[in-house]
């Protein structure tokens, strides 16, 4: 694979005596949609948190756009080009959808304390541009008419759309999606799949944790199966679904 955008090597994370992720490696090629599946307790979420920076690895390396980021604070990931969503969406409930979006813009002059007194014009210009972008993205994700409502009014599915729109504000190259289909009704699920494809067509790379196998088959170019903290199988969705080791793991073999 030529220069992966995101690459993890031998990632290990222990919590006390439990090894949640055990020497896991993966690489994301520019422009692909990679699925990460596995039975409950396989270590997917910990893997995801390690990549996103909210959990620090016990050992191993993570390279993002060629830079080593394994020990770096989580808030620096997005500015390096990688954003994430949450399994249970985390909008800022009392902020309007528009403000939710504007927060996610990177490198804002107005986020510095003194700049608000020394560079008001520049800040106003940046805000105008950011608002325009935010409205366009809200439009794309079918939330434009709610732009001035507080995010708490959104349904579960709309919250997932908002998280996707919000992370897009930062122009990321890689997006980590944590169960985008969970708890979403069938119609909205089609919208989400469609929008992920559209964003992917613009060159954005995705890593997707998902239990909805139908969605994985339709979206993912390649699938990794995790069990007991390590890589169990790799291939297309159809290939891994036929793999006896994967069937065994899903049917409870992993626990035995």
């Amino acid at each position: 694979m030529a220069d992966p955008v995101l690459e993890a090597r031998n990632l290990t994370r222990r919590f006390g005596g439990v090894t949640a992720v055990d020497g896991m490696s993966l690489a994301l090629a520019q422009g692909e949609i990679l699925g990460l599946i596995g039975p409950n307790g396989a270590g997917k979420t910990t893997m995801f948190d390690l990549l996103a920076g909210s959990v620090v690895p016990t050992s191993g390396s993570i390279r993002l756009m060629g830079a080593e980021v394994a020990g770096e604070a989580a808030h620096k990931r997005l500015n390096r080009g990688m954003g994430r969503t949450f399994q249970i969406p985390r909008p800022f409930p009392e902020l309007s959808l528009l403000d939710n979006m504007l927060i996610a813009r990177q490198g804002q002059t107005g986020e510095g304390f003194w700049a608000n007194f020394t560079a008001p014009r520049r800040i106003a210009a940046e805000e105008r541009a950011a608002r325009e972008k935010a409205r366009a993205l809200l439009e794309l994700l079918l939330l434009a008419r709610l732009a001035n409502e507080p995010a708490r009014v959104l349904s579960g599915g709309q919250r997932k759309l908002l998280e996707l729109a919000r992370v897009m504000m930062a122009d990321p190259q890689v997006i980590l999606l944590d169960e985008p289909a969970a708890g979403v009704n069938a119609t909205l699920l089609e919208t989400i799949i469609d929008r992920i494809r559209a964003i992917n067509a613009q060159g954005v790379t995705f890593l997707l944790i998902e239990h909805n196998i139908d969605m994985v088959q339709r979206l993912c170019h390649r699938v990794l199966v995790m069990a007991s903290g390590a890589l169990l199988a790799e291939g297309t969705a159809a290939e891994v679904a036929r793999d006896p080791r994967v069937i065994e793991a899903y049917l409870g073999g992993a626990a035995a």
């Binding site: 985390r90 800022f92 403000d99 986020e111 800040i123 507080p150 708490r152």
Partner: protein, 310 residues
């Protein structure tokens, strides 16, 4: 009539000084969600910093630099802001009640330093001869109180406008995001640590400025001015006015201070002499009852943004 005017100006000046402190708390709590119960400590640091910078030289105390009042104010903001920043850094990993306990501890430490570092603070006797603005017209109480009210009102207005500007700015937006969901804000590239410290420092600097303004308004300070009751009063002011609203912070301060002063006057007039000392506790009861009523009937305060249930 003259007395009443003079008293009115005095009352409003005192209430607006509380308004400045409450504005500082609104930045920390209303905007950022930082639970600061050490308000009296930062207020005191500002008062002492300005007093030491501006008083004339004295024999048995460090300081007495005789600097202009404006320098004292700036020094008060800088020192209280620095103390608040250090508190913020030391408490980065603490949330909610643990943060509250720690900030309360900071106020106790400040109180003990005021009482015991006699060479710096004058100990229990405090610092006297703090220069007062317009001291030249002190013998004309109406004019003197009116001019001082203008100074206090001017400072309040300046702080109010600055904080309104900041809370509408992208900077304020990050603070609100941190209040709502720190983990999500971090995932969107915001350093929760850095902004927490900034909010602490900016709020602390505002509280310190209020301390300095009051010190010069009264002309004399002592550790008794900075008891935990003051922290309680300021919290009541923010709750009544409406957490999250700068306008509410100022108006809540005036309302609560009026109740405080009014209940004090009422007990003085109605309670027989030998019960006066005990009746003073009724002032705190009056504020407590006010707070309960507000929380029952209008939990967002007079001006607070209406919140939905989550």
């Amino acid at each position: 009539m003259i007395d009443l005017l003079s008293y009115g100006a005095f009352f409003l000046s005192t209430a607006l000084i509380f308004g400045i402190i409450t504005l500082g708390l609104n930045l920390q709590w209303g905007l950022t969600g930082l639970f600061n119960v050490g308000i009296a400590g930062f207020f005191a640091i500002g008062a002492y910093a300005s007093a030491i910078l501006t008083t004339p030289e004295v024999a048995d105390r460090i300081g007495g630099f005789g600097l202009p009042i404006a320098v004292g104010w700036l020094g008060a903001m800088a020192l209280a802001g620095l103390a608040a920043a250090i508190t913020g850094i030391a408490t980065l990993r603490l949330k909610a009640d643990y943060l509250a306990i720690t900030t309360f501890g900071v106020a106790v430490v400040v109180q003990l330093v005021m009482l015991n570092a006699e060479a710096l603070t004058g100990g229990p006797f405090g610092v006297a001869f703090i220069p007062r603005p317009f001291a030249g017209v002190q013998d004309q109480p109406v004019l003197f109180n009116a001019l001082n009210l203008m100074v206090v009102a001017g400072v309040t207005l300046a702080i109010y406008l600055a904080l309104e500007h900041l809370s509408r700015s992208p900077w304020g937006r990050v603070l609100r995001a941190l209040r709502e969901d720190e983990r999500a804000a971090i995932s969107l590239g915001k350093s929760a640590r850095s902004y927490r410290v900034q909010a602490f420092a900016a709020g602390g600097a505002v509280m310190g400025l209020a301390g300095a303004v009051q010190a010069h308004f009264i002309g004399f300070i002592a550790p008794d001015n900075y008891l935990p009751t003051l922290t309680f009063q300021v919290w009541a002011m923010l709750m009544v006015g409406g957490s999250g609203s700068n306008r509410g912070a100022v108006l809540g301060s005036i309302v609560v201070w009026a109740i405080w002063v009014g209940s004090g006057a009422a007990t003085a007039a109605l309670v027989p002499g030998d019960w006066q000392a005990r009746a003073a506790a009724l002032q705190i009861v009056a504020i407590g009852v006010m707070l309960c009523l507000i929380l029952l009937w209008r939990p967002q305060g007079f001006f607070g943004p209406r919140r939905g249930r989550m």
